[in-house]
């Protein structure tokens, strides 16, 4: 028999499990865990999820803490944190992953893994500060101090808000702040700030859009005029118009300049009228499309 393959058949080798270097196994496990975490769907911050829970921030601090179990208990005690889900305990009893909800923000932490280069802060040395927004910075700093934090900055007023700083018993540095309330952001020039639905029968339009879009509307200042509640931009319904149509109002900084620009560009602008909310002018563009300009007070 001439079978050149015969000796080679003896090479067949089933899969024989081999335990790899434990440090490699732990490092790869950690890498996989991070890869899995990074694949959580990224959603813009501050967008509420349907369940009413805040969406996940794209950036989450992940602390290495000596004695993670004690640290979790401390953050619960000092900051009113809440542990989300169950933490992961590794074979050597260290915590591999834990998630906390701290004042609505997410914080991950795990025990130190010096073999992976992950250690907690050294005494008096830290490179990352955790900035936590609280409703009452004085109370928050006092609470943290009472349960063992070192206060490094007593709460004091600053242009951006009242701010204090602590170092927790595990060496992590926290800035606690109650921000100065920012002024309500107004509309920017060019934003559509108001839509007027001009229809023959305002009440009928109100009923239609209540049924279709769930609007609710209160009577307006003019007969058969309705103010829709809670939409962005605001919407009004005006009855008594022979020709149905929607007329937007665009915000401008200076209505006299804007009216002049409309005319220069070939459009038509009516008189500037004083309203309860500011100044307005009904215009048409150079193809006849109507719109309002509004200089809001």
């Amino acid at each position: 028999m001439t079978d050149p393959e015969r000796p080679f058949r003896a090479l067949a080798r089933p899969v024989t499990p081999v335990e790899p270097d434990p440090a490699f196994a732990a490092a790869l496990r950690d890498r996989l865990r991070r890869a899995l975490l990074s694949q959580q769907p990224a959603v813009p911050a501050r967008t509420p999820t349907p369940g009413g829970r805040p969406a996940m921030s794209p950036l989450i601090p992940y602390l290495a803490v000596r004695d993670a179990r004690a640290a979790i208990a401390w953050y619960v005690d000092a900051f009113g944190a809440r542990e989300v889900g169950d933490h992961y305990v590794m074979d050597d009893d260290r915590i591999g992953h834990a998630e906390l909800d701290v004042a609505g923000a997410t914080l991950y932490l795990a025990d130190e893994y010096p073999e992976l280069g992950l250690t907690g802060p050294e005494e008096g040395k830290t490179s990352v500060s955790l900035h936590l927004t609280v409703s009452d910075v004085d109370a928050a700093v006092a609470r943290a101090e009472a349960v063992g934090a070192t206060v490094t900055r007593r709460p004091a007023d600053a242009p951006y808000g009242r701010t204090g700083a602590i170092v927790d018993p595990y060496g992590h540095h926290w800035l606690l702040q109650t921000p100065t309330r920012p002024p309500e952001p107004g509309p920017r020039p060019g934003d559509a700030v108001y839509l007027t639905l001009q229809v023959p029968d305002g009440a009928r339009a109100r009923d239609f859009y209540e049924a279709v879009l769930g609007w609710s509307a209160a009577p307006g200042r003019v007969p058969d005029g309705w103010q829709v509640e809670g939409t962005t931009p605001m919407i009004g319904i005006g009855g008594g118009s022979s020709e149905p149509g929607t007329v937007p109002m665009y915000a401008v900084d200076d209505i006299e300049v804007a009216v002049a620009a409309v005319r220069t560009a070939g459009g038509q602008a009516g008189d500037i009228e004083r309203q309860s909310y500011g100044l307005s002018a009904l215009c048409r563009d150079d193809q006849g499309l109507p719109f309002w300009l509004g200089q809001l007070a």
Binding site: R6, A12, R13, L28, E99
Partner: protein, 183 residues
């Protein structure tokens, strides 16, 4: 407020790591390389799950590890191609060979072959895959794969028999088939 990492894949990792690593180590013979390819295999599983594939069985992982190994040999082959004179260039006629192979020596010989020869012999004989599967993995036609296997067996036999008379394999500096400095 992210959900914790999918425990499914991590628990599969704990279970399957020795099998994937053992498969790769037995075939590539180098710890660092086996570790790299093991990491690539599991990271591929993370991506596959994220893409909704939900693969993750030990069998899927071994199949992926095999692809990673073939990719590695293919890279090595490309690196060495410019350094090599010809792929064997040997006469395709094979004599029947009645040797009984010593597993350890066979592994050492395999490591001295070109990446393409090594890939072909490993998939065909260590993994015991039929030639069409080997051809598919290597991206060659069945005919070309059969020719490669013939050349690989000849190259293997030549080196195996050369080590037979030379007990100190570290001094094996046979140069009839340059391998780009790999020896």
């Amino acid at each position: 407020m992210g959900p914790p990492p999918d425990p499914g894949l991590l628990s599969l990792y704990d279970r399957a790591l020795p099998e994937v690593y053992g498969y790769l180590l037995a075939r590539c013979g180098q710890r660092a390389l086996a570790e790299d390819l093991t990491a690539e295999t599991f990271l591929a599983a993370v991506r596959a799950e994220a893409d909704g594939g939900g693969p993750t069985s030990v069998g899927w992982l071994i199949g992926t590890a095999r692809h990673k190994l073939v990719d590695h040999w293919r890279r090595r082959e490309r690196e060495q191609r410019s350094l090599r004179l010809l792929d064997g260039g040997a006469d395709d006629a094979e004599d029947p060979w009645d040797a009984r192979l010593d597993a350890l020596r066979a592994q050492q010989v395999l490591e001295r072959l070109t990446p393409a020869q090594r890939a072909a012999l490993t998939l065909r004989y260590l993994d015991d895959l039929p030639v069409p599967r080997v051809a598919a993995l290597l991206g060659r036609t069945v005919h070309a794969t059969e020719a490669l296997l013939v050349r690989s067996r000849i190259a293997f036999r030549r080196r195996y028999e050369a080590t037979d008379t030379d007990t100190d394999t570290d001094t094996d500096t046979e140069t009839t088939e340059p391998t780009g400095g790999a020896t």
